[in-house]
Amino acid sequence: MGSEANVFSHRHLLSMDDLSRDDIGQFLTTAKMMKEVSEREVKKIPTLRGRTVINCFLEPSTRTRMSFEIAGKRLSADVINISASGSSMSKGESLKDMAGTLRAMNPDLITIRSPHSGAPFQVSEMIERCSVVNAGDGRHEHPSQSLLDIMTISEHKEAFMGLKVSIVGDILNSRVARSNIIGLKKLGAVVTICGPKTLLPVNAEEMADGVTTSIKTAVKNADVVMMLRIQKERIGQATFPNLREYSRLFGLTSERLKLAAKDVVVMHPGPVNRGVEIAPDVADGPWSVILDQVKNGVAVRMAILYLLLGGGLAQGE
């Protein structure tokens, strides 16, 4: 790290589409080192001292926001948080004006969580000399989540090439699914997507290596089963009749999990609807790596800040 050849080539992190295999590898290597920092007694390194990171969360979030904040602080950056309810956007300020205001503060990096697909990309076009990280935009992408998921898998599996990963749930509306499909396919994993037909994209076949509406088919021989949170507001949109039926048809139970590879790992981006998409004994069981995901969330986000801000080679260091 830090050598000329390894200087990270991206200013922003907006989509997994923009990353090469090597880029993903660089995030993982860096995150591993950052994880070590988080396990020290004094969990702080001076790398980003004097740098300003603004976390702009225009939609509710617990773990993503918290982990970006912790990540920034462990790297000694000055971290400012803006949330939807307390921000001028809730007073009707436009994206353009908000971007202008942020720019005027001279931040080095902005993370953006928005209910609108593309908003981080649009802000990145409006602000020069500042990195933008997509912390989840609408139904589009959630690249930092995908990177932490990939990191978690890498801790449990030898290789990605040929790894059977099944993603189950609301594929259509899930930014986590979209980023993971792109990222995992780049690494050579065989990705199957599964969910009610009403929650699969129109071009599902083009997106993934396998598409099924049967959770049994999806789980069978899978090395990794990634469950997605079912959003209760989707019921009102008539995409499925009720949670009970959804759970019966698409819930992950220990019985169903027997069909998977012996060393299967079960993932969930959280927050979990216990007893809906995932049975409590599965969520808490030996297969579950859900809390590893959260832990890796901090490490990956430290790596993101570190690499995007030039690997800490700031002036004066």
Partner: protein, 425 residues
């Protein structure tokens, strides 16, 4: 007013089948003579149209002039100026103003303002009160005030019975219904075409079936009632096939296509470009091809701009929050001429789609250069190359995905009732 003599132009008048180099003399606001080697009467202005096309004034049967209510987007005055620059001498304006043009008083206000506009403005009345799709608008009274057609454009008439009643009621006044074919229950929440591109961008798509199903319904009604219906801004290949079949059976269905729909696809939404957001949305390659074929074989009768000006603020925002629509009056002609360049349409067929075809659908006495006709004339330079610069638009709206495009062809001179209202500088 002194006369105007247009010399040596290639006169293309599809309505009369004329396509030849000749002179056109305009006197007292009408075309007084068309023949070779005409001498200019004393005091008459002479325009040398050598190498140019002399056509009936272009007609756009689908514009949004935004007045009353949204004057910050466009006014009748600025919309008409924009039309003149684009070569249009007549424009029909949609009813989705505020208040909606659903009563005689609003129609009167529009026609009163239109008297000062540089081109002819023909108002289109709403089908339903407030475009709410519940009760019929005051169609008879609006007809007396001069509306030329009926449309809830921007919204589809979702209630099939109301659509039927409106077609029947409108027919008493010779008014055709113009349908914005979009089943809102199917397209609801969609901000672009449903397909791989929308999935990639994480945006909610509108399926083509939302358009196709309404086109099928309206054809069924038109056939059953033996009454006309016109489908606005066709964007889907299957809708065009439905119309082709219906026309073969003699159903009185007509259709229009907008230049952006035969020029661009949903890939143009890349980078969350809100200037590529419109209703109906940009579709896919096969739809673009189907529109061209439809224009060529007459399935699609005419080209209309769906000129939809918005303020910059309404476009400089998140894609799913941005307003639908683009301006079209000042870009329609070169984009349409590209179809001639690519040998999709003959010059005569192209001019027909922009003149006599829309005139016929609206039932207005325009769109022909015959002797004694109102002298609405457009002189087109089909070869002039220029770059589209939105900042120079006469329209208040600068919302176009065509900014910076190098195009060929433009209106050199636009003449309304014998008066030159635009000359390319």
């Amino acid at each position: 007013m002194a006369g105007l003599l247009i010399k040596n132009g290639r006169v293309i008048d599809p309505a009369s089948g004329v396509d030849e180099v000749t002179d056109v003399l305009i006197e007292k606001g009408v075309i007084s003579k068309m023949a070779r080697n005409l001498k200019a009467p004393s005091g008459a202005k002479v325009i040398d149209a050598t190498g140019k096309w002399v056509t009936p004034g272009l007609i756009d049967m689908h514009t949004h002039l935004r007045e009353p209510g949204y004057e910050y987007k466009e006014t009748i005055e600025t919309g008409a100026l924009s039309a003149a620059v684009g070569g249009f001498t007549s424009i029909a304006c949609m009813a989705n103003t505020n208040p909606v043009n659903d009563s005689a008083s609003v129609t009167d206000m529009i026609t009163e303002k239109a008297k000062k506009a540089v081109v002819n403005v023909f108002p289109i009345g709403a089908v339903t009160q407030g475009l709410k799709g519940e009760k019929l608008a005051e169609i008879g009274e609006m007809a007396e005030c001069g509306v030329v057609a009926l449309s809830d454009d921007g919204k589809c008439v979702m209630d099939a019975r109301l659509m039927r009643l409106a077609m029947e009621y409108g027919s008493m006044f010779g008014l055709t219904l113009i349908e914005h074919a979009e089943d809102h229950s199917l397209s609801g929440g969609g901000v672009m075409n449903e397909g791989a591109q929308a999935v990639r961008m994480g945006l909610v798509g509108q399926p083509k079936a939302a358009e196709d199903s309404i086109v099928a319904r309206d054809i069924t009604l038109a056939e059953y009632l033996d009454l006309p219906v016109h489908i606005a801004h066709l964007s889907s290949a299957y809708s065009i096939e439905l119309i082709r079949e219906a026309k073969r059976r003699g159903v009185k269905v007509t259709g229009e296509a907008a230049p952006h729909h035969f020029t661009l696809t949903d890939v143009c939404c890349d980078g969350y470009d809100t200037n590529a957001k419109m209703a109906p949305p940009l579709r896919e390659d096969k739809d673009v091809e189907a529109i061209k074929k439809g224009l060529k074989d007459g399935t699609i009768d005419c080209i209309a701009t769906d000129h939809a000006p918005h303020s910059a603020d309404e476009k400089e925002t998140e894609f799913d929050q941005a307003a639908f629509g683009i301006v079209g009056l000042e870009t329609a002609l070169p984009l349409s001429l590209a179809l001639v360049d690519k040998k999709v349409l003959t010059p005569s067929r192209l001019i027909e789609t922009l003149t006599s075809a829309p005139a016929k659908i609206l039932g207005i006495e325009r769109g022909s250069l015959s002797q004694g006709a109102v002298a609405d004339v457009t002189i087109i330079d089909p070869e002039a190359e220029w770059v589209i610069d939105p900042s120079k638009f006469r329209s208040k709206g600068k919302n176009t995905p065509f900014g910076g495009w190098k195009v060929k062809g433009r209106a050199d001179v636009t003449i309304v009732k014998g008066r030159v209202v635009h000359e390319w500088q």
